[in-house]
Subunit: 163 residues, 2 copies
DNA sequence: TGTCGTTATTTTACGCATTAAACAATCCGG
DNA sequence: CCGGATTGTTTAATGCGTAAAATAACGACA
């Protein structure tokens, strides 16, 4: 990214306010919805969002997952998952056992009760989300999906600095 | 919200997958960008996002703000702000004094050094954001603003249960 | 076989976030 | 002016998140 002084001068005077405002609005939207989802999960099921997310991952993996699998999928650190799983084992939602073929590995599964509880939560959760987006037309939803897809690509592009 | 059994049956069989996918994409986008901003703030300026946000509020208030003002603006709890301010006073970015007219009230201001530091960070931050959204056309940005505005209203509508 | 590098997990030290309770100062009505 | 409600802030207990160091088990190779 080398610019001569003239180009640089132009760049310096460019206005990026629109992008900044877009980012703030995106953040506001997400925080508004996420806050509401957290509140309802807590109120209705006495569960936190991270626990719900963890159970969602495990619900898709009938044979269980290792702690590493989980932390990759959830895009959080290993140490974080250790604690989350600990508390969910404690509450009877998860089952944890050492792999029979590799004693380093812990295999985590939903218990029967944990799975039933999750399915109940997930069903309501889907309705909450539909309700939150209720004022958007089908076309709005479609357009947003497309534009956010484009945004994701743009962000990834700007993020992953190629060597 | 009272439905007869026929309507209810219909509602039950409705598909809300599109809204759910939209929500997940919105979340992914925001987390991607927010993570990158956090990473760069830390890397370039050794500062966290909450501290940056707090300084941004104070930069707009030359006469300072009370702790309550700050927590309302940032939409976080009072106790949270107490700790944040504590650390930023410690690092010399903020100045904190008891109001002369009401001894309950703490007035928080940016120090001269804190303001200079913030302005430097904010200028770079704006460029990062512009860069992250670089692959979107002006029209894309405009459309996203509009659709997210609509989303915000819809969410608020679904959130604030009117008595 | 023993040791060296890798992989899986836990631990440690910290920061940010919440709610609820405690504390302190002000305000206001009798 | 005094006592109770209100307002502003802090504290306590807890959970989620990180990075970095420690621990443990595996695998491979001389």
């Amino acid at each position: 990214m080398i610019l001569d002084s003239e180009t640089k001068a132009t760049e310096h005077s460019e206005d990026h306010g629109d992008e900044l405002r877009l980012w703030l609005r995106l953040l506001t939207c997400t925080n508004l919805i996420e806050g509401e989802v957290r509140r309802r999960l807590r109120e209705r099921f006495d569960v936190t969002l991270p626990r719900f997310d963890l159970m969602a991952q495990l619900d898709k993996a009938p044979d269980g997952m290792t702690l590493s699998d989980i932390s990759k999928r959830m895009m959080v650190s290993n140490g974080n998952v250790t604690g989350l799983v600990e508390r969910l084992v404690e509450s009877g939602h998860l089952d944890r056992r050492t792999s029979e073929t590799d004693r380093r590995v812990q295999v985590i599964r939903l218990t029967r009760a944990g799975r039933a509880e999750f399915r109940k939560m997930a069903a309501e959760h889907e309705l909450w989300i539909a309700n939150i987006f209720a004022d958007l037309s089908a076309k709005d939803v479609q357009d947003l999906m497309r534009l956010l897809g484009k945004t994701k690509l743009s962000a990834r592009n700007a993020t992953q600095q190629k060597a």
